[in-house]
């Protein structure tokens, strides 16, 4: 393979690799100050380590070239002294670099741990469940607090303080574009914060192994302009839309009836008040089902209702045994919960 050939192959490959750095779930594409701190620290560590690697490789190449010129090793007094000086230099350099790393990561940690309390931060409680996220927007006026799941909407430019705990086992909240990881611990509350400086949709995951469906415990943080956020908040505060046609009201009866949906799920404004599973008051307004596992479409919703274990084995939603007409009515009702 000629050199030209290598570069024609390598250039697109490198571009493809670089393009993976951006996107919805990437620590290399910071969208807020917390993620930026970590990004800068990472860059500093990578670049320094890269430079050290290159220096070591250069020294090795030099040594190889030099040893070719000589048949016998240099055991003279002067040669020994040179070797000693080189070793001292290398060890000293290594220690100095590690000390610099220590100081830089300490400073990053300091900067990272300061929570800016000015400018009326938005307070959100996050409760980890196997395997989904309960999101509660706290407001001092209780009737303006609201509960949703797996999707956190935030206004751009406003500090968001997350107070987190877990319902069952240890989880970890990680939205790489916005902030580092923070554990959710049962019986104990942890606090972290982030700020999204530009609008966008940022995907997050659970970053602490928490059981069978750990890998399918995703969430979305949607940062939008303040006016749009306020509109979303008002819409979410409203009770569930009552069914408008006969099919949807049949579906509502299915939901409230024999299949026991109400034992686990809440739909505000109706009799359904279960607290075991996610709040479904505005289910149709969410983008994904089953904590970011599948898109929220009618087909996936039907599959999820009938056979959740086929989509997410081990999830705590039980399979349902419904007649096709019941299922279709239920889907129409659920899709009307905007």
């Amino acid at each position: 393979v000629t050199r030209a050939r290598i570069s024609t192959l390598a250039a697109p490959a490198a571009l493809a690799a670089l393009s993976a750095c951006g996107g919805r779930q990437s620590a290399l594409d910071p969208a807020g100050p917390q993620a930026l701190h970590l990004f800068n620290l990472g860059n500093f560590l990578y670049l320094t380590a890269g430079a050290v690697f290159l220096a070591v490789m250069a020294a090795l190449a030099m040594a190889l070239v030099r040893s070719r010129r000589r048949d016998v090793p240099d055991t003279s007094e002067a040669g020994e002294g040179r070797a000693r000086r080189t070793v001292i230099l290398a060890v000293g350099g290594t220690v100095a670099i590690l000390l610099v790393f220590l100081v830089v990561s300490f400073l990053t940690g300091r900067a990272y741990s300061v929570t800016p309390l000015g400018g009326r931060p938005l307070q959100i409680s996050v409760v980890g469940h196997q395997w989904w996220w309960e999101v509660v927007y706290n407001d001092s006026v209780h009737s303006r607090s609201l509960t949703t799941a797996n999707e956190i909407h935030v206004p751009v430019g406003r500090t968001v303080i997350l107070k987190m705990t877990s319902h069952d086992v240890i989880h970890s909240f990680w939205v790489p574009n916005l902030a580092g990881k923070k554990d959710l611990i049962p019986g104990y509350s942890t606090t972290t914060w982030f700020r999204a400086d530009r609008p966008g949709m940022y995907r997050g995951v659970c970053a602490e192994f928490c059981g069978h469906q750990h890998a399918n415990m995703g969430l979305l943080v949607i940062a939008e302009p303040p006016a749009q956020f306020a509109r979303w908040y008002e819409a979410q505060l409203a009770d569930a839309m009552p069914p408008t046609d006969t099919v949807a009201s049949t579906g509502k009866n299915v939901f409230m009836g024999a299949h026991g949906c109400v034992l686990c799920h809440t739909v505000r404004g109706t009799d359904a008040g279960g607290r075991v599973g996610p709040d479904l008051t505005h289910l149709a307004s969410r983008r994904t089902l089953a904590a970011g596992t599948v898109p929220n479409t009618r087909g996936w919703l039907g599959g999820w209702v009938m056979d959740p274990q086929g989509i997410k084995p081990g999830a705590h939603m039980p399979p349902n045994d419904m007649r096709p007409d019941e299922l279709q009515a239920l889907l129409t009702y659920l899709q009307g919960l905007r």
Partner: protein, 189 residues
């Protein structure tokens, strides 16, 4: 004594196989076949109080007996479905205790299943129309574990909330402010 090479190899293989066999103690059953797919698989229930001699006993083998995963799932269902409200954590209250050896309606798995599914007089609601049969089976095996009817290594461990001592951390959660509502932002570290 030095064993020949072949014998050593065989011995090693057998030991490894024995160790590997220990890895799979039991199977987690996630995807139960719905009862409608296999007619007749559901537990026959008596259909309420009927006059005359007692109905013939039903013999069912629950797939979950001595399955640790199912027992732990049953435990969380027991909490989620608020069985605690009447039976407490086995000690009873409004409902009868479940951790003793006195059974009003029978101690067999199928009796317990039936009690949950059909309900019982004086307040036990019928769950048959609300929970799926595998969920009822899971609760059944957990209820059995309370009175020591499942193997010891299968029964769930102790509860964090039943400790006599105070938790080391997280006490603030138990003392909500008298004024109510959320603490001011300055209370966040």
């Amino acid at each position: 004594m030095r064993l020949p090479r072949g014998a050593r190899l065989a011995l090693g293989t057998i030991t490894l196989a024995a160790l590997a066999a220990g890895c799979e103690r039991e199977q987690r059953r996630f995807r139960e076949t719905p009862p409608s797919a296999t007619p007749g698989s559901e537990v026959q229930t008596s259909g309420g109080f009927v006059p005359g001699p007692p109905l013939p006993e039903i013999r069912v083998v629950t797939p979950y007996l001595n399955n640790a995963y199912a027992v732990s799932q049953g435990k969380s269902l027991y909490l989620q479905m608020n069985c605690v409200g009447c039976h407490s954590h086995g000690g009873g209250g409004i409902g009868p205790p479940l951790m003793d050896d006195r059974w009003i309606y029978g101690a067999q798995p199928e009796n317990i299943y039936q009690s949950i599914q059909e309900g019982r007089p004086n307040g036990m609601p019928a769950w048959g129309s609300r929970l799926s049969s595998d969920q009822i089976w899971k609760i059944t095996v957990y209820v059995m574990s309370m009175s020591g009817q499942v193997r010891k290594d299968v029964a769930p461990g102790r509860d964090d909330h039943m400790q006599g001592k105070k938790q080391e951390q997280g006490t603030e959660e138990r003392n909500p402010r008298a004024s109510g509502g959320i603490p001011p932002a300055s209370a966040f570290p």
